[in-house]
């Protein structure tokens, strides 16, 4: 009973491997590259000289005060796209509560004058991917005053720019409102010269 089943098993494995593992991804790649080349290649953002700045879908680290800051990241040393992932710390983990979140809260209080108890939940927690390109509108709002001060711009002007870069829910219902940090910071650089640029 078993012997005459071995040949079908071997050949079926090979045939289906070729169809599902080679032909299928090849066809998808061909169509994707033809019809959606920008997306298929990573939604990259280039400088005028062609050098790659990053991807509009992948968050990157910002530490300087003149930029909006993203969420904390557990991917490598922060926003490392080859080491994606979260902290995987549980709800009663001491390091998560007393180090990771507590430090992020402290820095929001110190740098942005945030009030404890009123800090948006996304701004002080790490995302699942460690590559989250977005912050919530509340987290962006919290940083407006600092960015305006450092850039010597008016709060209203910065707030207007944030508003412009706030994406609504998709189709009006799906997901949550959000601000893409990289795109917002690029818009900042083109709209406002630094007050004291180095």
């Amino acid at each position: 009973m078993l012997r005459n089943q071995i040949r079908p098993a071997l050949v079926v494995t090979l045939v289906l491997m070729l169809i599902t593992g080679v032909a299928y991804p090849a066809v998808v790649t061909a169509i994707a590259q033809l019809v959606f080349p920008r997306q298929a290649n990573g939604s990259l953002i280039n400088r005028t000289n062609g050098a790659v700045i990053g991807s509009s879908l992948i968050g990157q680290s910002f530490a300087r005060p003149e930029y909006f800051h993203p969420r904390p990241s557990a991917a490598g040393n922060g926003y490392d796209d080859t080491l994606s992932g979260g902290t995987n710390k549980g709800p009663t983990d001491r390091k998560l509560a007393d180090t990771l979140i507590a430090q992020a809260v402290d820095s929001a209080v110190k740098n942005d004058g945030a009030t404890r108890g009123h800090i948006p939940s996304d701004l002080v927690t790490s995302s699942g991917s460690g590559l989250d390109p977005h912050i919530s509108p509340a987290s962006a709002d919290l940083q407006v005053a600092r960015v305006a001060r450092v850039r010597g711009a008016s709060i209203a002007a910065i707030r207007a720019l944030v508003h412009q870069h706030t994406e609504p829910r998709q189709f009006g219902i799906l997901g949550e409102g959000r601000v893409n940090v990289l795109l917002l910071n690029m818009a900042l650089d083109s709209a406002f010269r630094m007050a004291s640029h180095n």
Binding site: V12, P91, T92, L182, D189
Partner: protein
């Protein structure tokens, strides 16, 4: 919890209900052989493989075909992973996967589990991802569907003992169901930003002047079948939380729908096959009620947030601009509602892909996925696996109802007697035995405890989750557990094999036994399987079997953690 969050959950439920019938009719046509637009190609494939498509197999032969095919394809994957350094499409010169991990990965993908102890972006070559992992995503799903259809044939046929042909079921499921659906879904994904290329990784220079390496690869093609086949293995470590795998709320919605539509449609197809559509809808309703209970609990727990983090200054109250709740391990674009919904869907089914990190959920929020799996993944469930798991529970329900009124139970005209119940019980007992024995061993063995990322009750939950997920062939994780050790690669790999094949054989035996039985006409004493009473009884049996088995372990894990979290205790 926000109004919009509930609206999204409602929308998802409505769309699922709407697609159940059309998908079901399609599934039905694929497996009864009436929809075969690639018939010439099919014939060539059969001739090449030495398959007689007209052969109607006895359950023992059907089981043998399935086991041999699984063994051969698992071995092939083991060999390829061990040799990937010498194979093409390896632009970063990835080394051979270590033996322990290659065994576990081959077992895990063959069994539709897709538990991953490696990070895709630093371990696998494009060749391994495509020809092995994506290949298994297709065929393990097609195998699951084949088994479910075989069981349904057993119920529907009279005095035959024969339950169809594994090879044609496998080929037809792959050709007509999974390939076309995956092709369309993959392109929808790319349009939204999922990548699909064979490039080297790209080095970017960020605005602040740092270097950022962007991982590339043929992601969309794998992503589509990952959901449709309820496989769940991510191209990247972060799985569907990674923006290149799941860039927008729309892709997120499609992914959740893709996980559920084939299992939901299959329930409809089942009704047509056994000529009792109302019974199928009763099962659908039981599944939906359990799903709704899960998502409500998870959403409530995650939206409520973590009082410990609130005490550190986090605002857990959601507003129009602040997501609130517990955002640790979640993405802003999905927010709380979509993360809770996704976690429920992926563990109701045997998918196991994640768009947020379950390890960082609140204790009750994280218990929902755990319990979903422990109930046997019968809530729509894995492709095929959900239906046959549910039908085993239905047989037990009928049996218990029969005991209560003192009559020989019968199901859709078939008498349920001791040999059927023995097989159903074997199916129901192997599952918790694997989970609990492996977990118990791991919490006393030093090599089991070494891999923990969290202390206290959360550590126990991490281990329990790992063996639940692998035995249930889910593949999601409390990912803090370091699974890439000899101990865990071996035990978790074994758990995936037990959870699939040790349960398949009694299930196919049940199919064969039922197929041999003559149909007896319905009488006044027949327990009706189309009423709300049946739905309530079925749900009760599922919950009682699950609760009696797992409550002690859950009490020591998430339940204790929930209580100590309220008291502000840290570990």
């Amino acid at each position: 919890m926000t109004m919009n969050g509930w609206l999204q959950i409602l929308l998802f439920s409505a769309v699922l209900l709407a697609v159940t019938k059309p998908v079901g009719i399609y599934v039905l046509k694929v497996y009864d052989g009436s929809f075969r637009w690639l018939a010439p190609l099919e014939r060539i494939a059969y001739r090449l493989c030495g398959i007689d498509p007209e052969e109607d197999q006895h359950w023992t032969r059907y089981a043998a075909s399935m086991l041999i095919f699984s063994a051969v394809s698992m071995l092939a994957t083991y060999v390829v992973l061990r040799m990937q350094h010498a194979l093409p499409l390896n632009p970063f010169n990835r080394d051979a996967v270590p033996a322990r991990q290659a065994f576990e990965t081959a077992a895990s993908f063959t069994t539709n589990t897709n538990w991953q102890s490696y990070a895709g972006e630093t371990t696998m070559s494009y060749f391994s991802q495509m020809t092995q992992l994506a290949f298994h995503n297709f065929v393990s799903a097609a195998t699951g569907m084949a088994l479910a259809v075989a069981l349904v044939r057993g119920i529907a046929r009279h005095s035959a003992g024969r339950i169809g042909n594994f090879w044609t079921d496998l080929v037809r499921g792959t050709f007509y169901l999974f390939l076309p659906a995956a092709l369309v879904l993959a392109l929808l994904f790319v349009q939204q930003g999922v990548i699909q290329n064979f490039h080297q990784y790209i080095t970017a220079t960020t605005i602040e002047g740092a270097k950022q390496v962007l991982a590339m690869g043929p992601v969309a093609s794998q992503e589509a079948i990952k959901q449709l086949g309820t496989n769940g293995g991510g191209f990247f470590n972060a799985n569907s939380a990674h923006p290149f795998e799941n860039p927008t709320p729309w892709t997120n919605f499609l992914q959740m729908l893709a996980i559920f539509i084939i299992p939901a449609g299959l329930v409809y197809a089942f009704g047509r096959m056994v000529k009792n559509q109302r019974h199928a809808w009763a099962i659908w309703a039981a599944m939906f009620i359990l799903f709704a209970g899960g998502v409500t609990t998870a959403y409530w727990a995650e939206a409520r947030g973590n009082p410990i983090h609130a005490a550190r200054g986090v605002d857990v109250v959601a507003t129009a601009t602040n997501p609130g709740g517990n955002m640790e391990g979640k993405e802003v674009r999905f927010g709380i509602a979509n993360s809770a919904l996704y976690a429920t869907v992926t563990t109701d089914a045997s998918c196991g892909c994640v768009n947020s990190m379950h390890d960082s959920f609140t204790p009750i929020g994280g218990m929902v996925p755990l319990v979903n799996m422990q109930l046997g993944e019968v809530i729509f469930g894995g492709v095929g696996a959900g239906l046959y798991g549910m039908l085993v529970m239905v047989v037990l329900t009928i049996f218990i109802a029969g005991l209560m009124v003192g009559r020989t139970p019968e199901y859709l005209g078939k008498k349920i007697q001791s040999r059927e119940i023995r097989m159903a019980m074997l199916y129901a007992l192997i599952f918790p035995a694997s989970i609990l024995l492996f977990s118990a061993a791991s919490v006393v063995l030093p090599m089991g405890l070494k891999g923990l990322n969290n202390a206290g009750p959360h550590g126990l939950t991490e281990i329990l989750y790992a063996f639940t997920s692998t035995t249930a062939n889910n593949g999601s994780a409390f990912a803090g557990l370091t699974g890439a050790t000899y101990y865990y690669n071996t035990t978790l790999g074994l758990a995936t094999l037990i959870g699939r094949f040790a349960m398949h054989v009694p299930m196919l035996a049940l199919a064969g036994f039922l197929a041999e039985r003559r149909v007896v006409p319905e009488s006044a004493g027949t327990f009706p399987v189309t009423t709300p009473l049946f739905v309530a009884l079925l749900i009760s049996v599922i919950l009682i079997v699950g609760a009696l088995t797992f409550f002690p372990a859950l009490a020591l894990g998430p339940v204790v953690e929930h209580l100590v979290m309220g008291a502000g205790k840290l570990f």
